[in-house]
């Protein structure tokens, strides 16, 4: 049944109850209803990766995921990673490496890198390339993006080592 009904979503550690049709793509809800504009609408077919968010810590393409699939799961968007004042290590690394030209793909690159580093805190260059294989960038900043992910891995490891007593 695809008639709108109240659904409760967990987005960036906050609960939102919205009256929406359960089959609506998650991306529409995030952008239109929750004003999370980090995830971008690219191809709308799950192919370019610009819309990537994290669902229970795993990368997911929000443009093809019906919102009902994330009920009871934690959704994290780019907004949930860090703030301009306190960016996430991955965000900081992308700033440091200036790994963007037009920047449209950056949300997907950062979120996919975030998921990758959660799984594999010290990926090799080949592993980074493989992980980002299905995230498309038309400007050609791939070299900087790979460097940014390597730096992010370093930053994250350093942060964790610093946090421990």
């Amino acid at each position: 049944m695809n008639t709108p009904r109240p659904l409760t979503l967990d987005v960036n550690h906050a609960e939102h109850t919205l009256c929406v049709a359960p089959d609506t793509p998650l991306l529409y809800i995030l952008r239109n209803d929750l004003a999370c504009n980090g995830p971008k609408y690219g191809c709308g077919l799950g192919q370019c990766g610009a819309c990537t968010v994290l669902v229970d810590g795993l990368a997911a393409r929000a443009c093809v995921l019906p919102v009902k699939a994330v009920l009871g799961r934690a959704v994290t968007t780019l907004e949930g990673l860090g703030t301009p004042q306190r960016p996430d290590p991955v965000q900081q690394a992308f700033i440091d490496e200036q790994a963007a030209q037009c920047g449209y793909c950056l949300n997907g690159m950062i979120m996919t890198a975030k998921a990758l580093l959660a799984d594999n805190p010290a990926p090799s260059e080949d592993e980074i390339r493989e992980a980002l294989r299905f995230n498309l960038c038309r400007c050609g900043t791939h070299v900087e993006i790979v460097r940014a992910v390597q730096r992010a891995a370093l930053l994250q490891r350093r942060n964790e080592a610093g946090a421990q007593p």
């Binding site: 089959d23 077919l45 192919q47 229970d56 810590g57 093809v64 009902k68 699939a69 009920l71 299905f134």
Partner: protein
């Protein structure tokens, strides 16, 4: 043998009284990962994604918060505060992992003679399955407590276990300290009722971890549910062959959930377990395998039988059954399960062979001490005399009495053998199923020298026997039973708490009359050993059979279960009594009735009052409706449930499903049960017109009376919806409904389901569900020119439904990797099997309905369907086939290029190319293994491309978008051809792909 089995040399032996636990302890609350359960000795633990430790630490009374990997626990001043603080953690979890679908290997525990050969030659063979709830009869209310005190760098743990075995090493590893810093003390909380061997080490590890973090004394109380063991069962499958009263062969296999040996906290914190149990078990298995006789196996089977085989699923020591390698064991639960299965089975053999169950055992027993005990118990119970005298009771006219015998031989603590025998006498109210154990004669003999150190707190033998008998007959927890964790332990409440027996239902307070027999009977009260109650369950089950003819193969023997079994038995008897002449007459009558082109309308009746049906009936009806997939066809896309209006494409035209809500005008609100039953079994509307066989009354005729009544109750108690479905208008001559009378005469047999006595109960249950309610063959069997299912060798050999191909479920399946029973179960339960793909199209809502059924029913369907397939190859062979298909497709990919290849790369590869890219939310189904790509027709592949899979039954699978609006017909066809060439390179190219795309795009979809 590994030294962890003996107490550690440095471990001071400590006993209760030496060091009672400190009077004041903090309370612990540990979060249970959602969906926690055990598979193959390992827990399926959801990943802990995050928790708000600051909020929890700020909660009132909270002392310490520990979050380590997937372990999250709180220490607080009181249990109430600990629970509140744990709630403040707001833990977020990943979805629980799916169990490894690989079949579990089997280990041989004992072998003697050649059972397989004996079975082949056997004339009378019985195969039965028995289940035992691992966590006992009241898994929800029984708890286990451990107290840990961390002081000056040493850990002291009080827990109810006299043989802590590997636990010290495990606690040391968990806390990253030396084993010498750990002291274990034996102590048991007076409020605990759980099987300590099952839970004590879990409680101890939680307490230890939190005590160290809090630098304090911490109490941890947990129930089986907290350890993910509330629903776990041990399954014994026993096969036997006998001629007359002589048993030739006996084969038993232990399956089900194994009691976890390693504490949950070690898994949650991902601490490597320091003790491997496997080595000990290997040694054990080898001594038996070397063929040096039955000696080691008397603990596994005390009887002398020429051919014996005993297996256990799994490879680790905890499956070993009677052996409690480190005292932690599941040994007691295992022994109970084994004795229950073995002694129930012996009773079934005795019934089949028409011999006295006691003499059957004595005939197969070499052990003089055991035989003497059996004789003494039988004599004291008056077994050899006439049936027990009928005593006056207030229970009314339908009271049935019976008695049952069971015997157990086990190896207790310190390898001392023990013998026990029970005669249980029961009274059963044949109407309500209420059961009372009226008298028990217990005999127990043991070589254990003195009562164990726990005797001080143990109840006397009589009390233990009475308690055991009462627990066996308690009802299983109902849907509204609250788990023990709902009522936090507080000193005030515990002071008021009565002893454990008072928690039993009030209706069953009548304690049985206990008589003692045996070598120790001269003592005023026996020191109660758990071994003495081993035969209890089987003795009661055998007594129930003696009284009623109903065989219950899973305790507890509750009134509900018994009443259902009695009703089923009564239905069976009524049919048998009719005799062949009467049955012939009945068949003729129904035949006549079927040919009548017009049937009389049945008078409308007023709908039943709300609340007319019991909750149990409605619940049963709900399950029947789910198994029958009523809502799948009777709900229009986006419409209210069961209000009808779904268009079903048939070769004869479009049939619209009808409104089956209890609305008086547009639904079935005025249908009497007689009208409902006639529609379900004969395909006749209440007003007398005939229903098209798109409504599978051909299958529903097999539904049992009780299920049909429950279904009627459920449907009539639903909310009425006023909705008129579109009229079904078929072309000439199919619009002439009276012609269906002839169709029915040709193709419909109105006969209820008859179990096949030669098949197992599981198979028969599966057959009932699949042939009747599930109506699998409605889609999966081919139909003839008149739209009737073809039977015989065509049964389940593949059909079609709503523009989708329903693949063959038999040996004709085109799946590159053969379907196994396990794969079918996984697929039907979760909508996805790794070696086959996901449930799409009209099968998706079927799986969604099946999620409402208990796992055992889905297992039964899988078992039944698997029986039509070719015998499954070995697990290694399945993996090899899968690898081969992947390799072949990788080779094919190298030779393919062009626009379709690019289309695949951009549209499909991100989710389907399992070896590439990032791990993602949802599954990455392998296309090389997909049944549809290997099918003879491209229909399903094109359907999935056009419609996508917007709503898989389990949202954890992810979703597939529809490409209907982004790819044109030519692109869809190109892509389909490419997928075939790449992923099924050994199969010929599909014909007419373009025409199929055009046809399917034009057809309406089942669901938007």
């Amino acid at each position: 043998m590994n030294d962890t089995q003996a107490p550690h040399p440095a471990a001071p032996a400590t006993w209760p009284g030496d060091q009672p636990p400190p009077a004041h302890s903090l309370a612990a609350h540990v979060l249970r990962p959602p969906g926690l359960r055990w598979s193959g000795g390992r827990p399926l633990v959801a990943r802990l994604l995050g928790a708000d430790t600051q909020a929890a630490a700020a909660a009132p009374g909270a002392r310490t918060v520990v979050v380590r990997q997937d372990f999250a626990g709180v220490v607080a001043d009181s249990a109430e505060q600990a629970a509140q603080a744990a709630k403040a953690l707001c833990a977020r979890w990943a979805p629980p992992p799916a169990p490894d679908p690989a079949p579990v290997p089997r280990r041989t525990l004992a072998r003697h003679g050649n059972a397989a050969a004996a079975f082949e030659q056997a004339q009378t063979r019985q195969s039965r399955r028995y289940r035992w709830p691992l966590a006992g009869m009241q898994p929800d209310s029984a708890t286990c407590t451990a107290i840990a005190d961390w002081r000056d760098g040493t850990l002291r743990v009080w827990l109810p276990s006299t043989r802590p075995g590997a636990l010290r090493a495990e606690l040391a590893a968990l806390l990253d300290i030396d084993e010498r810093q750990v002291t274990l003390l034996c102590w048991q909380s007076a409020h605990d009722g759980a099987d300590t061997a099952l839970l004590a080490h879990h409680a101890a590890a939680d307490a230890a971890l939190l005590a160290q973090a809090a630098q304090a004394c911490v109490r941890r109380t947990l129930s089986a549910a907290d350890a993910g063991l509330a629903d776990a069962t041990l399954d014994w499958r026993i096969d036997s062959a006998h001629s007359g009263a002589a048993l030739h062969a006996y084969a038993a296999t232990l399956g089900g959930t194994r009691a976890p040996a390693v504490p949950l906290a070690l898994w949650l914190t991902r601490t490597a377990a320091p003790v491997a149990d496997v080595a000990e078990f290997d040694e054990f298995a080898e001594t038996i395998d070397s063929g040096n006789a039955c000696a080691p196996s008397t603990a596994l089977l005390p009887y002398r039988i020429p051919h014996i085989e005993i297996h256990a699923a799994g490879t680790d020591a905890s499956a070993a059954g009677t052996r409690s390698a480190d005292g932690r064991g599941d040994s007691l639960a295992n022994a109970r399960a084994r004795v229950f299965a073995q002694e129930s089975h012996f009773d079934e053999i005795a019934v089949g062979a028409r011999v006295d169950p006691v003499s059957l055992r004595l005939d197969h027993l070499d052990d003089a001490r055991g035989a003497a005990l059996i004789r003494e118990v039988a004599q004291r119970a008056g077994w050899s005399s006439e049936p027990p005298p009928v005593r006056a009771t207030g229970g009314g006219g339908n009271v049935r009495r019976g008695r049952g015998f069971a015997y157990a031989h086990a190896v207790e603590d310190e390898a001392a053998p023990s013998w026990s025998a029970w005669v249980a006498e029961v009274e059963i109210d044949g109407t309500t199923g209420e059961l009372a154990v009226t008298r028990v004669t217990v005999g127990h003999d043991s070589e254990a020298a003195a009562p164990g150190p726990t005797s001080a707190t143990s109840p006397p033998m009589e009390q233990l026997a009475a308690q055991t008998a009462q627990q066996l007959t308690a009802p299983p927890p109902a849907f509204d039973t609250w788990a023990a964790s709902g009522a936090p332990w507080t000193p005030a409440a515990s002071a008021l708490q009565a002893p454990a027996t008072a928690a039993l239902p009030a209706t069953r307070t009548r304690a049985p009359d206990i008589r003692m027999a045996g070598a120790l009977a001269s003592r005023p009260t026996l020191a109660a050993g758990a071994a003495a109650t081993l035969p209890a369950a089987a003795a009661v089950a055998n007594a129930i059979f003696d009284a009623t003819g109903v065989r219950l193969r899973e305790p507890p023997f509750s009134a509900d279960r018994l009443r259902l079994a009695l009703a089923a038995q009564a239905a069976g008897k009524a049919r048998r009594r009719r005799g062949w002449l009467a049955a012939g007459a009945a068949a003729a009558a129904s035949l006549c009735a079927t040919v009548l082109p017009w049937r009389a309308p049945l008078a409308p009746v007023a709908p039943p009052e709300p609340g007319f049906y019991s909750a149990a009936t409605l619940e049963r009806g709900r399950l029947v409706a789910a198994a029958g997939d009523c809502a799948v066809c009777h709900t229009a896309p986006g419409g209210p449930k069961n209000a009808g209006g779904l268009a079903l494409e048939t070769p004869f035209g479009t049939v619209y499903s009808t409104n089956i809500t209890p609305d008086a005008e547009t639904g079935i609100g005025t249908w009497s049960f007689a009208a409902f039953e006639r529609a379900m079994r004969e395909g006749v509307h209440r007003d007398g017109h005939r229903l098209y066989p798109a409504f599978p009354y051909t299958a529903f005729a097999k539904i049992s009376d009780a299920d049909l009544q429950a279904l009627y109750a459920y449907l009539m108690s639903a909310e009425p919806v006023r909705a008129t479905a579109p009229r079904t208008e078929l072309a000439f001559p199919f619009q002439l409904r009276p012609l269906l009378a002839g169709w029915n005469l040709l193709f419909h047999r109105n006969a209820p389901f008859r179990p096949d006595a030669a098949r197992s109960p599981l198979w028969n249950r599966g057959a009932y569900l699949a042939e009747g309610l599930g109506h699998c063959s409605a889609c999966h069997s081919p139909r003839n020119a008149l739209g009737a299912e073809k039977g015989g060798r065509h049964y389940l050999s593949g059909g079609s439904a709503e523009g989708w191909e329903a693949p063959a479920l038999t040996a004709l399946s085109r799946a590159p990797v053969p379907w196994t029973e396990e794969a079918l179960f996984t697929y039907l339960r979760g909508g996805y099997a790794a070696h086959h793909g996901a449930a799409a199209g009209p099968m998706a809502p079927v799986v969604e309905e099946l999620t409402q059924l208990p796992a055992s029913d889905v297992q039964a369907i899988a078992h039944y369907i698997a029986s039509f397939a070719a015998p499954p190859p070995a697990p290694e062979r399945i993996d090899a086939l899968a690898a081969q298909a992947e390799r072949r497709s990788a080779q094919a990919a190298a030779s393919l290029s062009g626009p379709a290849a690019r289309l695949y790369q951009s549209a499909c590869a991100v989710c389907h190319q399992s070896g590439q890219g990032m791990r993602q939310f949802g599954v990455k189904p392998s296309l090389a293994l997909n049944t549809n790509l290997h099918a003879d027709r491209p229909d399903n592949v094109i359907q999935v491309l056009l419609q996508g899979m917007p709503a898989p039954p389990d949202s954890a699978l992810g979703a597939m978008p529809s490409y209907a609006d982004s790819l044109d017909d030519g692109q869809v066809a190109d892509l389909a051809r490419y997928l075939r060439a790449r992923f099924a390179p050994d199969k010929p190219a599909w014909q007419d792909v373009d025409a199929t795309v055009a046809r399917l795009r034009a057809a309406p979809a089942h669901r938007p």
